[in-house]
Amino acid sequence: MTAAIEEVVESQLAPASPNKLPPSRLLPADILSVGSSGLRSRKMRTALSALGIMIGIAAMVGVLGLSESSQADLRKQIEALGTNLLTVSPGGGFGGGDGVLPEETAAKISRIGPVEVTADVVTLEQSVLRNDLVNANETSGITVVAADTNLLSTLNGELSAGIWLDEATGATPNVVLGSVAAERHGIIDVSQGIQLYIGDEWFTVIGILEPFPLAADLDRSALIGQPVAAELFDAELNPSIVYVRTDPNFVDDVRAVLPATADPASPEEVEASRPSELLETQNAIEDSFTNLFLGLGAVSLLVGGVGIANVMVIAVIERRNEIGLRRALGATRAHIRRQFLTESLLLSAIGGVGGVALGVFVTWVYARSQGWDVVVPTLAIIGGIVAALVIGAVAGLYPAMRAARLAPTEALRAA
């Protein structure tokens, strides 16, 4: 307002005082076209130097997008599995105890008020062989486990094929394979009645499980019914792990009383844990990898910035005559400085926007290939563009100052 009035007053005064000349003025609307003129006339070079910034920004946006997408997926998994799952297992303890839970542990735990459902598994010593002819040591690292029929519902597990153990199938020599166990034995189809040789007895494969993210041990197990385990192998049914599903509001309370409930005689030898905490730890580990990759992205961004500074220095040297001409046409040093700074900012803005687009695209492609939801944090998008602009400003500062300092007479000297 005042500036506008001053301008009017100045223009009215101008004829009265002949020494008053209006100052040189580059309209704000013109700065952009002046700043982009150099880029427009050298398109290839513009594209290449913007590419440097673009790669850096794309790396950072991609890393942030991918980590966010994978974390969102982990969170989704945890949510699906529930944070209300607890496990009870015999721990080392201080008493040098026997590391065995009493047989009736699961039944006792299920009497705790907020506990919804429990299931126990007993790890057996028997080995799983493809048939009775192979070397008895070739167990493929698969454990035989006697499982409660409740197990699948307690873990929210699902079958990928066949059926689960029930009262009937669990009492006869039938086996359900964990996902890894099935893969190691090359079994996909359960309709053929394939048999496995477990501890000198033949068991029929009746089902294959989907992976258990919260109980990965079970993926490498061959699960049989507890009645058949007791009958054929004379097994003692002391649980190796009891899985406990509780009311989500009392998880910590239940966890606190679990050891004493499981083994009142030596509660210190009982370990009660919450598997979802492990996934959260995994999250934290992935976070530190993200930081590493972000660091690498920052380095490539820096290299891109040096590239822009380099190109701008060359541009200033090459365009001495243009600088001289502009000074002769009335440009002030500030106008020249602004022109080259704008040019550098535009260059980095092109790189920044392109980099964000590329980063989002890479995230999209990879997240989709992993079956994740695509999540790109807004902060990464805004941050990417801001980082590019900051780099452009810093990279352009020295070349712009150099251009502005160039004396018009020197700049006009024929090249």
Binding site: L21, S24, L26, E322, R326, L329, G330, A407, L412, A414
Partner: protein, 234 residues
């Protein structure tokens, strides 16, 4: 000599020294007065100081001592910023190698003559089109420099110099890069502009070009060796 109307450009006892060992005295006590509406040549061999004259007259460089006045403004006392304003409003330059921006149309090259005077983009283009018609290139508005002959390019450059209606036009070897025919077209154009009222100084080493103009100021070793207008009055 008492004058009521101020000179278009006046140099009073101007010296310019460049640092070095030994220092170079490019101008040595030069006094030249250029009236409004004049057309003159500043002529001399290379090293005579005429390039320094161009720089000092064009406010691209300040004298070591002496006074430079343009339109009665003592520009030799001006700050860097005000000198930019002087160049943007009062002076039009024409250079030997044209200095047109590549890939930019004739009309936009000419409009650049107003870029730093605060005129809006539309108005600049309108006035640029008028200036291009004045130099006989009304049919070449959209052409870029490398679609044009040398003579045409220099006429575009002249249009750029006149588009801000300057008090004085400084043409540095305007025909230096042109063949005879194109040179003549350009010189005829300058004479026509002068007839229409423009004040024009042609800096040249070419005696023939200088002779074709109404007044010659000859330089040698940084001094005025001969000024035809003084010869007449004295």
């Amino acid at each position: 000599m008492t004058d009521i109307s101020p000179a278009a450009l006046e140099l009073i006892d101007v010296s310019k020294e460049y640092a070095g060992s030994p220092p170079v005295r490019a101008l040595d006590g030069v006094s030249v007065r250029i009236e409004r509406g004049e057309l003159l040549a500043i002529v001399g061999p290379s090293g005579s100081g005429k390039s320094t004259m161009l720089n000092v007259m064009g406010t691209l460089d300040l004298p070591t001592s002496g006074v430079v006045k343009i339109d009665d403004r003592e520009v030799s006392k001006f700050s860097e910023r005000r000198l930019s304003a002087v160049r943007s409003h009062l002076i039009g330059f024409v250079f030997q190698s044209f200095f047109l921006l590549d890939g930019v149309s004739a009309v936009d090259n000419v409009a650049n003559g107003l870029l730093y005077s605060g005129v809006g983009a539309r108005k600049r283009r309108e006035r640029a089109a008028v200036a291009l018609r004045t130099v006989g290139l009304g049919h070449r508005l959209g052409h870029v420099p490398n679609q044009m002959s040398g003579g045409e390019r220099q006429r575009v450059a002249i249009a750029r110099a006149i588009v801000n209606e300057p008090s004085i036009i400084l043409a540095d070897e305007p025909t230096g890069n042109l063949d005879t025919a194109a040179s003549e077209t350009v010189m005829d154009l300058l004479r026509a502009l002068n007839d229409a009222g423009s004040t024009i100084v042609v800096i040249t080493h070419d005696k023939e070009v200088a002779q074709s103009l109404p007044r010659q100021v000859a330089f040698r070793d940084g001094r005025v060796e001969h000024d035809t207008s003084l010869a007449v009055t004295q």
